[in-house]
């Protein structure tokens, strides 16, 4: 049962293999779904808010994909990941506001570069002194760093961040991508779902976020099989052994840290332009915790897992309230406030139950699933089976030290 599952998933992940017709059909199905989802929700009465929830969830997928590199692949627990998100967002807005006169409608697209760089540079700057620390020490130091960044932003550090009031300042507005206006005034049609579809800014951001996530997924998939990816796995399994095999631990950790931070920076810029306003309260420690929860709950190192995790943690609570607020369900005020009140209680309980029942996450990555229950005889056997499988079926490049 489970053996075939993981083995197949492993082979399914491998890029570069000739896609069969089944696979082509699958990708076509995904593409169709991605395309239809916003059209359906935007047009169906009362469900427009779901498109925005998808946008926010998408940004969290991007964040979680980045943290996934750090936690899931390289095995470094980062509890201050939101700091990179904040750096990206603030860099994107500050530089964007300064240059938008020249860049106009292209501001957002250009800002992805400084945003990504801001994230990556912060990652390297923090990573350099602290990456030699052991697991939980690293966790607390990153936590401290996240708080330092937030407090500095909140206190208008160097007069840049405008403190708690947030950016953009006063009556300034952020320039939106030029396409939004054109799309929203030109693309609209009647749908069979009960309403007219209008290409709103939410729909636009939905597609941008999906695109960014797809790019991240492809990059991460390639990385996973690269020399770097394998070095990370070796390092996560056993640092000493990996170092003995000639892997430069610090360099590899720094790569993981800065790549993860880069993704966080991109997510930050996108968040800032979606919301058109940023303030330090969006970058609290709890947000860092949420990203870690997404990664672990979804399944460390697993891309579908991260997507499901983000949907569950960032999507469902808002969805439940949203259906009531948007008038889809007619509920009395008492029930509504009960839903609002109890959702986090249930959510906390679910996290505990989930970890007890399925600590490897909802959709565990094939590789991780094998390590997570080492005491489980069945999986040990499976591991042997899988090693055999891999060695006999995969002629691709394998690093033999």
């Amino acid at each position: 049962m489970a053996e075939t599952t993981t083995t197949a998933a492993q082979s399914g992940m491998k890029p570069g293999r000739r896609p069969g017709t089944k696979k082509a059909a699958l990708y076509a199905g995904i593409a169709l779904l991605i395309l239809l989802v916003p059209i359906y929700f935007q047009a169906a009465p009362g469900l427009g808010f779901l498109v925005r929830i998808f946008v926010i969830v998408g940004i969290w997928v991007l964040l979680a994909l980045g943290l996934n590199i750090v936690v899931g692949y390289a095995g470094l627990l980062d509890l201050g990941y939101i700091a990179f998100y904040a750096m990206g967002a603030y860099a994107g807005v500050l530089i964007g506001q300064a240059t938008s006169g020249v860049l106009g409608g292209a501001t957002y697209w250009v800002m992805l570069i400084p945003g990504a760089l801001a994230g990556a540079i912060t990652g390297i700057a923090l990573g350099f002194p602290v990456l030699r620390l052991r697991g939980d020490y690293l966790a607390i130091v990153t936590l401290g760093f996240g708080e330092i960044v937030r407090i500095a932003l909140n206190n208008d550090f160097l007069g840049l961040s405008n403190g708690a009031t947030g950016l953009p300042r006063g009556s300034e507005v952020m320039v939106q991508p030029g396409m939004i206006d054109w799309l929203s005034s030109n693309v609209h049609f009647m749908t069979p779902f009960g309403g007219e579809f209008v290409f709103t800014s939410n729909v636009f951001w939905y597609f941008v976020v999906v695109l960014l996530c797809l790019i991240a997924i492809v990059v991460i998939n390639r990385l996973d099989d690269s020399r770097l990816g394998r070095a990370w796995v070796a390092m996560r399994e056993n640092e000493v052994a990996a170092a003995a095999c000639g892997i430069n631990i610090t360099t590899q950790k720094l790569w993981a840290f800065s790549l993860g931070a880069l993704s966080g920076g991109v997510a930050g810029v996108t968040f800032a332009y979606v919301q058109q306003f940023i303030s330090p309260e969006s970058f609290t420690f709890m947000e860092s915790v949420f990203v870690v929860c997404i990664v672990v709950l979804g399944g460390m190192g697993s891309i579908p897992g991260v997507i499901v995790g983000a949907l569950l943690i960032k999507g469902i609570p808002d969805l439940i309230q949203g259906l009531a607020v948007a008038g889809v369900f007619k509920v009395s005020g008492d029930v509504n406030s009960m839903i609002t009140g109890y959702r986090f209680l249930v959510f906390g309980l679910l996290m505990v139950v989930m970890m007890a029942v399925r600590p490897q996450g909802i959709i565990p990555s094939a590789r991780r699933a094998r390590e997570l229950r080492p005491e489980d005889e069945r999986i040990l056997e499976e591991e042997d089976q899988q090693m055999w499988d891999v060695e006999h079926r995969d002629p691709g490049p394998v690093d033999h030290p």
Binding site: T5, A9, L33, Y40, P45, N202, V308, V325, I363
Partner: protein
């Protein structure tokens, strides 16, 4: 196709199907309640956007109660019964967080029957939400946003019934210097948009009046430990401490100051005009503390007395919080606009784009006697009622100061 992926897509498919079922249901209810012509009974919705589970919950729940009171009174009025119009209140919990607030705003605008939003409490939340309401032609009337910048964003759908920091701060500073006679002050803020703005305006005016600002400090908005700050203030030897913040922090600072033997009273803004303040600080500690609040004292307005009585009847045992009366007035502004448009265009046109635009115009033209004084707006959406009153704690209650 692997098993894992199959499971994943099965999940997605289930979610998609569920949502379609859900919309199916909603479409049905739409037909049964909507219908043709203006004679059919019509239900419309006013949203309350406020922190209900996190952030300044006491104030958020109060905002909700104020709105519910206004709506339930309206629903009983003959005017609405004649029109066949029922108004419902839907609560949206923004948790005091801009991103959540953005989601709530999108949910409100997605609601086909929603005509206006009474909210939000936090200026940061409004910064995000107001643009979303603007796109959906939904009118927003805030009872509590005091950040000056908000009405400079050029949003035609945004109004507020409270005055801004640049009116409230200076009035309080003048009182502190001229009436109370304070010469040296210590100014603290809670690092939020609200607190920073208020404290800065207060300090500016106090210095302009000729007072000395002996020091300024910042705290967090959830802090409870002010001991180090208290020692600092004690050493500064001041006549008054101004703290721009909400009741939960200011009350504790006041308590910890008085317990250390500091005699100087604490002064703050409308976020402290709440009985919770005195409960938290302890009546003896709070004695003599000041706060400023918008509008005339409740006792001076006949409408306010009615409000107090109706409130006590509708929510027995609940104390009136800082923004309840403003929320009542803000909701009243929206209700009046809805009634006006319903009479002019018919109840069936209310939820159309034109109807919503007409509601925005009607709110802009508001002019009625509310609980907090006259409610009308200038061209930017700020209230024209710029009266600020100073209150003092006397015998365990906020009373108007002379």
């Amino acid at each position: 196709m692997t098993r894992n992926r199959r499971r994943f897509f099965a999940l997605v498919a289930v979610v998609a199907m569920l949502s379609m079922v859900v919309t199916g249901c909603s479409a049905k209810t739409e037909q049964s309640t909507g219908g043709e012509g203006g004679k059919q009974p019509v239900t419309v919705v006013i949203g309350v956007g406020a922190p209900l589970t996190d952030g300044a919950v006491a104030l958020g729940k109060g905002m909700s109660r104020g709105t519910k009171l206004a709506v339930s009174q309206a629903n009983e009025s003959q005017e609405l019964k004649d029109l066949g119009l029922t108004i419902e209140v839907v609560e949206g919990d923004d948790k005091g967080d801009p991103t959540t607030g953005g989601n709530v705003a999108t949910q409100f605008t997605s609601n086909q029957k929603l005509l206006g939003v009474m909210g939000h409490l936090n200026s940061g939340v409004t910064r995000v939400a107001v643009k979303i309401y603007n796109q959906g032609n939904v009118v927003q009337v805030s009872p509590a946003n005091t950040a000056v910048d908000l009405t400079k964003m050029g949003m035609k759908n945004y109004f507020r019934v409270c005055t801004t920091d640049d009116v409230q701060g200076p009035t309080a500073a003048d009182y502190a210097y001229k009436v109370f006679g304070a010469k040296r002050a210590y100014v603290v803020d809670d690092s939020t948009v609200y607190g920073v703005g208020l404290a800065a305006e207060w300090a500016k005016q106090f210095a302009a009046d000729g007072g000395t600002v002996a020091g300024t400090e910042k705290t967090g908005d959830k802090d409870t430990d002010f001991k180090a700050l208290v020692s600092k203030i004690k050493a500064a030897n001041v006549d008054i401490v101004y703290y721009g913040g909400m009741y939960n922090t200011v009350a504790l600072l006041s308590k910890q100051l008085k317990e250390t033997g500091v005699k100087a009273p604490v002064m703050s803004g409308d976020g402290c005009y709440d009985p919770e303040y005195i409960k938290l600080a302890g009546a003896t500690n709070a004695e003599g503390d000041f706060c400023s609040s918008i509008g005339y004292p409740v006792d001076k307005l006949p409408k306010a007395q009615e409000f107090k009585a109706a409130y006590a009847e509708e929510f027995p045992g609940e104390a009136i919080a800082a923004y309840d009366a403003y929320s009542y007035d803000a909701a009243q502004a929206i209700i009046n606009a809805i009634v006006k448009v319903a009479k002019e265009m018919g109840t069936d046109k209310l939820a159309s784009v034109d109807g919503k635009k007409a509601i925005i115009a009607a709110v802009a033209a508001s002019n009625f006697e509310g609980v907090t004084g006259n409610v009308s707006f200038d061209e930017k959406g700020d209230t024209t009622n710029k009266v600020v009153s100073i209150y003092v704690v006397k015998d365990g209650a906020w009373v108007p100061a002379e």
